[in-house]
């Protein structure tokens, strides 16, 4: 913790551009509850009486002093090995994880698109589209106008839109979710592996949509393990290693360095 502060990377600010996300010396520590101890009622009771904490709780220091500035119109790819803190970073930008130290400053409310497939799994796809649009703050009129666009974009097989979302495959669910979230202009859109499940056709469509969202003066963050997707979609790549900035720059440069490092 002590020298983690020293490890904080310096940031160059481009005074000619408008920042949209500023990450300032960010530290994220979160708690993990796992299955541990004897999982029966008697042991749980004795723990309550003795006022012990749950034995399985551990603290994870996932982001260790990260700083950077993202500007309007950027598509930032975040790469790194499993457990390097990519998803944690997106959750922190979305405001879902409180910083232990430092801070995240954004313009507008960022939206995070994760991997869990259903919004409301017992409701039909159609209801999910309508409710999702209304929840994002659209009026019923706007929702009606956007509805067909969302359904077309998701490209579900005929009829599936009337089935409950729990019957969807994970790919279909992820596609519908992305389509719903992309229906609205976001100031900051955070995409966490959500494109991984789509097929090639959907990938092209979503890349075009990301491009549009960027032009509408927002910023897009993309976490993906498929490096070619990052290379095609992003114009800047951040390489995270053990919760710290390893490299930050143009896609080709960073991805080539990353590939070289991981293939050793």
């Amino acid at each position: 913790m002590v020298n983690a502060h020293l490890a904080q990377n310096p940031v160059d600010i481009d005074p000619t551009r408008d920042p949209i996300v500023v990450v300032d010396g960010l530290h994220i520590v979160y708690r993990v509850y796992g299955a541990g101890g004897k999982g029966n009622a008697a042991s749980a009771m004795s723990r309550v009486i003795k006022r012990q904490k749950r034995p399985s709780m551990t603290e994870v220091h996932a982001i260790k002093g990260l700083s950077f500035v993202a500007y309007r119109g950027e598509a930032v790819g975040v790469i790194g090995t499993n457990g390097s803190g990519k998803s944690t970073l997106l959750q922190a930008i979305a405001g879902l994880l409180p910083p232990a130290r430092g801070g995240v400053y954004t313009d507008g409310q960022p939206s995070l698109l994760g991997v869990n497939a259903a919004l409301m799994k017992d409701l039909t796809g159609e209801r999910n589209v309508v409710l999702g649009c209304l929840a994002m703050g659209m009026t019923p009129q706007e929702t009606k106008e956007k509805y067909q666009e969302v359904v077309d974009f998701a490209g579900l097989k005929a009829g599936f839109i009337n089935y409950p979302m729990r019957t969807y495959s994970s790919g279909m669910g992820a596609r519908l979710r992305f389509a719903i979230a992309a229906a609205k202009t976001h100031d900051v859109l955070l995409i966490d592996e959500a494109l991984a499940t789509g097929d090639a056709k959907f990938r092209t469509k979503s890349q075009r949509r990301i491009e549009e969202l960027r032009k509408e003066a927002g910023a897009v963050f993309l976490v993906a393990h498929q490096l070619d997707v990052v290379r095609e979609t992003c114009d800047r790549v951040i390489w995270l290693d053990d919760g710290q900035m390893r490299m930050d720059g143009p896609p080709d440069e960073v991805i080539d360095a990353y590939t070289e490092a991981t293939q050793k």
């Binding site: 600010i13 405001g95 409180p98 400053y105 409301m120």
Partner: protein, 305 residues
């Protein structure tokens, strides 16, 4: 250019009007956001209501069957077997009014406590004011109540209650009860979101509450006959101020002319409608305001892993 030494990143961010992403909006802005989502609240409630019975063969018929069966069970046990109806006029409408109104509150509070926990995937996927969830749950229960009230009105008229100006005030009682339910549901939503044990405990609490609130027996009758309550008048005052009792009793005063008459003539001075109205109004406003603010103060923490 490197501002690192002359200007900190936090200052730089503030200069461009960027804000902490995990901070919650001001209360005023929050209320505006919730109001802007009113269509979402209604659509969400309707969708929940439809999907609730979609697995059963009878489907939506259960919306009507459930209240009817409840009436049947309570009438069998408390009306016929235990005969709690002692010297009350028309026990069945008395009982049904109590069971429906109290059940409305009970279910609002219980499902309110689960409103955040049951919708985690929605909370983690989209950004919207979380208060819309307990609000939508209260609307779900309200939509269910409307059908039950249809049944209730049929029973009331079948027992020969004449149409009465007092009945016009019944929708006001329902509105006040709804306000109270929303507030209480929001308090439980916050408690339930951070401590799932609350959800397990609630059914026992509400059941105890049911027996304390004069839902299946007449509390005014008990108060005039019970020696214990007469010597401990402070306890009687607490029972009379209890919201579970206030809304139920007020519904009976507005709907059941014979009962109102009975209470006013046989227990005069003890239970005036005016006193009930004052209590109901206070409970409704206090619960709604306090519940909303209490829920709002944890807004940025809902759905956090």
């Amino acid at each position: 250019m490197n501002f690192g030494s002359s200007e900190s990143l936090a200052v730089y961010a503030a200069r461009f009007g960027l804000t902490q992403s995990s901070a919650r909006p001001t209360l005023r802005k929050y209320i505006q956001d919730v109001w802007q989502r009113r269509h979402f609240i209604w659509a969400f409630a309707s969708a929940k209501n439809i999907s609730m019975y979609s697995d059963s063969r009878l489907g939506q018929v259960w919306q009507l069957l459930t209240p009817l069966l409840n009436v049947g069970v309570y009438f069998l046990i408390f009306g016929l077997l235990l005969n709690t109806s002692r010297n009350l006029p028309d026990f069945l409408p008395f009982l049904v009014t109590g069971v429906f109104m109290f059940g409305f509150m009970q279910r609002s509070i219980q499902s309110g406590s689960k409103s955040v926990g049951d919708n985690l995937s929605l909370i983690r996927a989209l950004h919207f004011p979380r208060a819309t969830l307990p609000l939508a749950i209260a609307v779900v229960e309200f939509q269910q109540l409307v059908l039950s009230l249809g049944v209730l009105m049929i029973i009331v008229f079948a027992f020969g209650e004449p149409l009465d100006v007092h009945m016009l005030l019944f929708p006001v009682v329902v509105a006040l009860q709804l306000m109270f339910n929303v507030g209480a549901g929001m308090v439980m939503a916050r408690l339930g979101a951070f401590n799932r044990d609350v959800t397990q405990l609630l059914p026992f609490i509400t059941r105890t509450w049911l027996y304390l609130s004069g839902v299946i027996f007449s509390l005014p009758s008990l108060m005039t006959s019970s020696h214990f309550l007469k010597t401990h008048s402070w306890l009687a005052e607490i029972l009379k101020a209890n919201p579970g009792y206030v809304f139920v009793e007020l519904s009976r005063h507005t709907l059941l002319g014979k009962y109102r008459h009975h209470v006013q003539h046989h227990m005069a001075g003890n239970h005036s409608s005016t006193q009930l109205w004052i209590y109901a109004l206070i409970w409704a406003v206090v619960a709604l305001v306090a519940g909303f603010v209490y829920f709002y103060r944890a807004e940025e923490r809902y759905g956090r892993g």
